[in-house]
């Protein structure tokens, strides 16, 4: 059976690096993997999504509505936006973090309240974490994406793969240690 993981966030949050590490780890484990990104104007504050599908043989690279085994949101409103992609019985991982869009900044729309409460109530298997705060406590706020990767790897039951080696290949030497620390923190959540 193929598995589908959807990573969603806002341009600049590091979703693409996270996806890359996950995909490389899966490839190393011998899976057929397809990864599809939509990031046309991501640098300009838009929402970013990555679809990763893996298994024996993957055809379509797109994860449709109700198909994601795991939906991992790096930002709360993005969790709302893509919730419909989560499979019934799937796992939702959401970072309790807010990034305001232009409409919220200028006051024409309000940032939705009590997102976490609603999500936890609706989805049986929801994992909420303060990824940004955890990363900040670890000393490098930018590693929040790797904290989330740790949580994701655990949710997928892929802890046995050599993720540290994959990170060595994809993350610059000087921030590697901080990222490995972040990954382990995520695994322990």
């Amino acid at each position: 059976m193929n598995k589908s993981v959807m990573l969603v966030g806002v341009g600049g949050q590091g979703t693409i690096l996270t996806s890359k590490i996950l995909a490389e780890g899966l490839l190393g484990a011998g899976y057929d993997v397809k990864m599809s990104e939509i990031h046309g104007m991501a640098q300009r504050g838009g929402s970013v999504t990555t679809h990763i599908k893996y298994g024996e043989k993957v055809n379509s690279p797109i994860i449709n509505k109700g198909e994601a085994d795991v939906l991992i949101a790096f930002e709360k409103v993005e969790a709302l936006r893509y919730l419909c992609h989560l499979k019934a019985g799937g796992i939702l991982i959401v970072s309790d973090h807010e990034i305001y869009s232009q409409s919220v900044l200028s006051g024409t729309e309000d940032y939705p309240q009590e997102i976490i409460e609603s999500l936890t109530q609706a989805v049986e298997r929801t994992i909420v974490l303060q990824a940004v705060k955890l990363a900040e406590q670890l000393g490098n706020i930018r590693t929040h994406n790797i904290v989330l990767l740790g949580v994701l790897v655990k949710a997928l039951g892929l802890e046995q793969l050599d993720w540290v080696q994959v990170m060595k290949d994809l993350i610059p030497e000087k921030v590697l240690e901080a990222n490995v620390k972040a990954f382990k923190t995520g695994l322990a959540v």
């Binding site: 104007m41 379509s60 449709n64 709302l80 419909c84 609603s118």
Partner: protein, 586 residues
């Protein structure tokens, strides 16, 4: 060796392995990364051409001179390059010529959703359509050989999901194709009416041969499964079809989609009970199948508009209802892309917003985002160049109608080199009195900072002559007294120039010069610069918020400027009437 590659990376690798010696393109989503990747191979001369027409012409010259050559572009780029494309079908090639065309179903980053498969029969060139990364690599290599065998450019048609999806690709070694001798042959390469008339039957004969080839070629294959359902499909649609039907159907998977294998289609159709045509956007395959007198089910069930996926196919053909998922009551707030914090385009729009009675004809680039509230400044955006040229026509009719609005045409530097120069020539030649704003941020920003003729560097990273935009403006005849060059970070200066343009009775050009805020060296230079708001002085007039800067927010009744995003452009400080915003750093 196996690699995990996007379709674009695989196309680049395929061109390299095929012995391609020259590649040219103008950046455009989703095709941009093809040339970015090709430029990493030192064996291939690669260039960002000013536009797609130039790119294809450069490639055509290389082909006639005897080398394998490639041009890449997004779908609307092929509109620009159609002129050489259609006539290259007549001249044919010497070295193989591959034209990569990337369509954008779903308009992830485009101004229309045209289906360029229809171009192949119109231009009378062969067409290949890969479905994944491996086929991108294999088909590109085959495309060069086919181009030489059939003496025709090959249209290599991909879509966003093929370009931007990664899959496992077995890569190989480069095989040098060398440079063929060039033999002068005006009857083949000089398309005067008399010569072209004689070439047309050659083109038709070539297509007949290609059709025979299409019947037996390895790109058009049948995968037998359950014969109750037969599916004819191509490109990414094949993947969606396989996902939905698996072994429960048989497939005619078409990789060469022009000319189509008519007999193969007839044979396949005859052996299945129900025939589905699964394709994205236009009924290209379906119309061909129907023209053979074969009944099938296609666009009456599968929508023409938008990107296709397995769920749409499932619902359309299997009648499945919405899949089970979750719902909550909160609605996500919209998150459209916006001009970045510190974007040098923003002050220009803030200056323009003060003017009443203006019509703004926009263009393609980051500055298209000037349409987004609260700026909301654009009246039209059509295609590259139209920011100036459509303004010319608008102004003429405004005059006839006795309307008073001033026309402002907006365009960036890369777009100016792409299509703006000829438009500007017309503005001069037609005695237009519109105002033109050229936003020079020294890069092709929207597609991710590609070099252009104004940046002094080429795609291969070598120093190149700088084409000075202002000199071009002067050279085509805009009066020097009607040209202003401003630093957009100086709002007063920008406003003054815009107001002079507004008041002028003659063609007026304002050039704003400030590099894109996202460029690495700019970010480095401006590191540590930021603005902050003084809550005691702030009167909450929201003038700063109305600039639409994403770094500025009203939080709990006070203005907050996000230090991480702010680059200290000081636009907010300059619009603040109460001296409540200050800047840190020099």
């Amino acid at each position: 060796m196996k690699k995990f590659l996007t379709g674009n990376e695989a196309i680049a690798r395929g061109a390299y392995e095929a012995g391609c010696l020259l590649a040219a393109a103008y950046p455009g989503t989703p095709s941009t990364e093809i040339l970015e990747n090709i430029s990493q191979y030192s064996e291939i001369y690669s260039e960002w051409s000013p536009n797609e027409k130039v790119a294809l012409e450069v490639a055509s010259g290389a082909s006639i001179a005897g080398s394998r050559a490639l041009a890449a572009m997004k779908h609307v780029g092929l509109n620009v390059a159609s002129d050489p494309m259609f006539t290259m079908a007549y001249t044919g090639v010497n070295g193989g010529l591959v034209v990569v065309n990337a369509d954008d179903p779903g308009l992830h980053s485009s101004q229309n959703e045209q289906d360029n498969r229809l171009v192949a029969p119109h231009a009378k060139v062969l067409m290949l359509e890969p479905s994944d990364g491996q086929e991108c690599l294999d088909f590109v290599k085959a495309a060069f050989a086919l181009s030489e065998e059939f003496d025709s450019p090959v249209l290599f048609r991909v879509t966003t999901r093929v370009c931007h999806s990664k899959s496992i690709v077995e890569i190989g070694e480069r095989v040098e194709a060398g440079i063929k001798p060039y033999v002068k042959d005006p009857a083949k390469y000089v398309m005067s009416p008399g010569n072209a008339l004689k070439r047309h039957p050659v083109v038709e004969e070539k297509l007949l041969r290609a059709k025979d080839y299409s019947e037996t070629c390895p790109f058009n294959r049948i995968e037998w499964g359950n014969r109750k359902i037969g599916i004819i499909t191509s490109g990414i649609s094949y993947q969606h079809a396989k996902e939905v039907f698996g072994e429960q159907a048989s497939y005619l998977k078409l990789g060469m989609t022009y000319p189509l294998p008519e007999q193969k289609i007839r044979d396949f159709a005859a052996q299945v009970d129900t025939l589905y045509i699964i394709e994205e956007n236009d009924p290209y395959l379906e119309q061909q199948v129907r023209s053979l007198g074969i009944s099938c089910i296609g666009k009456e069930r599968i929508p023409i508009c938008g990107e296709l996926n397995a769920e749409i196919v499932r619902r359309a053909l299997l009648g499945e209802t919405e899949p089970k998922t979750y719902q909550v009551s909160q609605k996500p707030t919209a998150r459209p892309p916006v001009l970045c914090a510190g974007c040098p385009h923003r002050p220009l729009y803030v200056a323009l917003k003060k003017l009443k009675d203006i019509v703004v004809t926009g263009d393609i680039g980051c500055y298209t985002l000037g349409m987004v509230p609260p700026l909301s400044m654009l009246d039209t955006v059509i295609c590259m160049g139209a920011g100036i040229s459509s303004g010319i026509g608008f102004e003429k009719v405004n005059r006839m109608a006795g309307r008073k609005e001033k026309i402002f045409g907006i365009m960036g530097d890369s777009t100016f080199f792409h299509s703006g120069i000829t438009s500007l020539i017309d503005a001069v030649y037609s005695n237009s009195n519109m105002a033109i704003i050229l936003l020079d941020n020294s890069t092709t920003a929207m597609t991710g900072h590609q070099e252009n003729p104004g940046t002094g560097v080429n795609l291969m990273g070598q120093p190149a002559p700088v084409i000075d935009l202002v000199n071009v403006v002067k050279a085509v005849g805009v009066k020097p007294e009607n040209i202003r060059i401003v630093d957009p970070y100086d709002l007063a200066e920008t406003e003054k120039a815009v107001q002079e343009a507004y008041a002028s009775q003659e063609l007026f050009v304002v050039v704003t010069k400030q590099p894109c805020a996202l460029m690495k060296d700019v970010q480095k230079k401006r590191e540590g610069l930021y603005c902050y708001s003084d809550a005691e002085k702030c009167k909450k007039c929201k003038a700063c918020l109305r600039t639409g800067c994403p770094a500025i927010a009203m939080k709990n009744g006070t203005i907050h400027i996000d230090k991480a995003q702010c680059n200290g452009c000081t636009l907010c400080q300059q619009v603040c009437k109460f001296d409540a915003i200050a800047k840190v750093g020099e």
